[in-house]
């Protein structure tokens, strides 16, 4: 075991954003932060919004490190002419900090006294991650900002992710946002900013992170999961809707194989191969396949979105698919009307949600879904 592996806290992935030196994509968001820093009037709170797994926290940690290492922008950072020959004249071009920089190392180890990360904690009783960020956790912010900076500069707090906060935790965060301390920045990461309290949203400057392009996702995959082949990477990028985090999760859970299995069945629409369908549903209903069932549900929902899109705008095509599903989607998209497919999409999502929340019989759930699809495709 080496030293780097030792410094992981239990339950934390080795590629936690606090340790990630690269940022793929998000150039516009990065430039916006940099410009705000240069202006010398940095907003005290930023709401970094965008789909899950696209690198919002990576961007937040990148900015935190930059701010902790650099402090305030000085004249030559702003691009004012310096003394000739004394400095380069140009300020930093991005928020990157070398992984060997002392601040980088301390942030990576969790040992930077001026950076506080609010995230879900491991429940000591069960050893599992809690399902939400509790109010106790958010109250640490108050204590943190009540004290001066340990290293003399800025104090940065990252809330990752705000969507996970309980109601009382959100109110506690609001209290901090209402009376922001000086030389402090709060970076609020949110997968669905619209779901946060309006009062929180209105007190933060919005920073929008967009899903990555398929090539960018593939780049992340090539670094994080080098074992994948290039076609697999590309297929995963399409399947993940521009979210490298989602793509990695899919790769880990065998998402591609599950998607192919699913497509093999869907190919037979509108006439279902009943024997194959029963075998498929039987397999996913087994106790050990609970995770696979959930994954298949997600993939099915993703696939339906493609069909809906194709039905909505037949001329646009469906772009590059993940596993050669385009002809099928185009074929189905032509069939009934758009609202018919929307209904099915809504119904399928509803059933899947119910299956999860009230523990429905999984085989029956799948059969129901496929029969609904078949009916829609026949119409």
């Amino acid at each position: 075991m080496n030293a780097a592996a030792l410094s992981l806290s239990p339950g934390e992935a080795p590629d936690h954003p606090r340790r990630s030196a690269d940022l793929i994509g998000h150039r516009a968001a990065e430039a916006e932060l940099l410009a705000a820093w240069r202006s010398g009037r940095l907003s005290h709170a930023w709401l970094i919004g965008g789909p899950r797994g696209i690198g919002k926290a990576t961007l937040a940690f990148r900015f935190a490190r930059f701010l902790l290492a650099r402090g305030d922008a000085v004249s030559h950072d702003v691009g004012l002419p310096g003394l000739p020959g004394l400095d380069s004249g140009a300020g930093p071009e991005d928020l990157a900090l070398a992984p060997t920089h002392p601040v980088f190392l301390r942030v990576a180890s969790g040992g930077h006294a001026d950076l506080l990360t609010i995230e879900r904690q491991v429940n000591e009783k069960t050893g599992r991650l809690r399902s939400d960020i509790g109010v106790e956790e958010v109250r640490r912010l108050g204590d943190f900002f009540a004290k001066t900076a340990a290293e003399g500069g800025w104090r940065v707090a990252i809330v990752d992710a705000a969507d996970e906060m309980s109601r009382s935790a959100a109110n506690a965060l609001l209290k901090i946002l209402e009376e922001p301390p000086a030389r402090a920045v709060i970076l609020v990461v949110a997968h669905a900013p619209g779901g946060l309290l309006a009062t929180i949203r209105s007190r933060c400057r919005r920073l929008v992170c967009r899903p990555l392009a398929a090539e960018e996702v593939a780049t992340v995959l090539s670094r994080r999961a080098p074992a994948l082949t290039p076609p697999e990477r590309l297929a995963l990028s399409h399947l993940a809707d521009g979210s490298p985090g989602r793509a990695l999760a899919l790769a880990e859970q065998g998402g591609l194989a599950a998607y192919r299995d699913l497509l093999a069945l869907l190919e037979t629409l509108p006439d279902l191969d009943l024997a194959a369908l029963h075998a498929f549903a039987e397999r996913l209903a087994r106790a050990e396949n609970q995770a696979l069932f959930r994954l298949t549900g997600e993939l099915l929902s993703h696939w339906l979105v493609l069909v809906v899109r194709s039905a909505a705008a037949p001329g646009l095509g469906v772009g590059d698919g993940a596993a050669g599903e385009q002809p099928l989607i185009v074929r189905l998209g032509r069939r009934p009307s758009l609202d018919r497919w929307l209904d099915v999409w809504e119904k399928v999502n509803h059933i899947l949600e119910r299956a999860e929340s009230v523990n429905l019989d999984r085989k029956q759930v799948l059969l129901n879904i496929f029969f609904a699809l078949a009916r829609a495709a026949q119409a």
Partner: protein, 372 residues
């Protein structure tokens, strides 16, 4: 890094620093203590991200270097080693391990790199002055009991240390309050402290400082800026963050026109209050004072327990007065009074009372009465 150090020396230094390290930590580096060997000494650093203590212990150093090891495990090991043992510490950088040898025992401890360890940068501390251990102990002991525990008024969660004028004399003052009582202690301003910013030293720092005063004694060099404070003893240095807030204008709550003077023998008074308070209910712990010419009647009653009453001879010449206090607060103050007598200056049952120490002119306490 390679060195040999006496077990007793290592244990005492480690004992001072390890208490800072939180027992429960989800971040591994924060459970560690940093070891750094210079040519003649081993420095141990521990931190909780709000304060850091560095302690130097003499050691025979063969090779300089630095690393970090789990603080509590390391402390437990050293504690369990036989008395009089010599401890050999060797850090193998390549494997990230620290080997500890003493007699026939050998331990290998997992290390984390020194670079991961938090830094409490003192930065540019503009003001420096010296205090004796006794002076610092007095400032701390006579005020820290009044520090607020309430988190919403975070600026009261510490001792306010500042330079000011008391009449014509320049003084260094320590003030703490929780809104119900206030303690103010002053001493002549030490050289170098003139013009220093008023700072609020957090409660935990005060408590660790108090332990260090007893542990390592002698004089202290205090350095501070508006964001950091450092207490440098001979072999130990405590550096801490400050509370980032403004201490309220406490002078306004210290009444100056109280004319009903009461003088009590401190020991008898405290014992009587303590006895009577036994009966008062858990939460409020209220006791009632009934004052008449040279006589104080302390009483308490509770619907569940019954009642208690005790009469104490005192010096009191003003008109009769009834006033209630929280007995816990009275005892806290009585405990800090060094002299034989304590004097109370009162106005009425609803205004703050000032308590002074017969033997310490520089100490003053303000106490809000309770309605009983």
């Amino acid at each position: 890094m390679k060195l040999i150090i006496e077990r007793a020396v290592l244990l005492s230094s480690l004992g001072h620093v390890q208490s800072v390290v939180e027992r429960r930590n989800t971040i591994p580096i924060l459970s560690n203590v940093q070891l750094e060997a210079s040519s003649t000494a081993l420095s141990l650093t521990a931190t909780d991200l709000d304060l850091a203590i560095v302690e130097k212990a003499p050691a025979k150093v063969e090779q300089v270097g630095a690393t970090t090891v789990p603080a509590h495990t390391f402390h437990d090991i050293v504690r369990k080693l036989p008395e009089g043992a010599e401890v050999e510490l060797t850090y193998h950088g390549a494997e990230g391990r620290l080997t500890l040898r003493a007699g026939r025992s050998e331990f290998s401890l997992a290390c984390l790199p020194k670079e991961d360890f938090p830094v409490m940068a003192a930065g540019d501390l503009g003001f420096h002055f010296n205090l004796s251990a006794a002076e610092l102990r007095r400032l701390v002991d006579k005020t820290r009991f009044a520090i607020s525990m309430e988190e919403t008024r975070y600026y009261l969660n510490g001792i306010h240390l500042h330079a000011t004028k008391s009449g014509p004399q320049a003084v260094l003052r320590a003030v703490a309050t929780d809104g119900h009582r206030l303690a103010r202690v002053e001493m002549p301003l030490p050289a170098g402290a003139a013009g220093m910013p008023g700072v609020i030293v957090p409660r935990k720092t005060v408590n660790e400082l108090r332990k260090l005063i007893d542990g390592v004694g002698d004089g202290v060099k205090v350095s501070l800026s508006d964001t950091k404070i450092r207490f440098a003893f001979m072999d130990a240095i405590l550096t801490s963050k400050l509370i980032d807030g403004t201490f309220p204008d406490y002078e306004r709550v210290i009444p100056s026109g109280n004319d009903k003077m009461l003088e009590v023998g401190c020991k008898d008074f405290a014992a009587a209050v303590d006895r009577v308070a036994t009966i008062s209910t858990e939460k409020s712990r209220a006791v009632k004072f009934a004052l008449d010419k040279d006589r104080l009647t302390v009483s308490a009653s509770s619907p569940e327990n019954g009642s208690a009453l005790e009469e104490i001879p005192v010096a009191y010449a003003a008109q009769a007065l009834e006033i209630g206090f929280n007995s816990r607060y009275l005892l806290d103050i009585a405990e800090r009074i060094e002299g034989e007598t304590a004097s109370f200056a009162m106005n009425d049952a609803a205004s703050p009372t000032v308590v002074r120490d017969g033997a310490d002119e520089g100490a003053l306490y303000v106490l809000m009465p309770m309605r009983v």
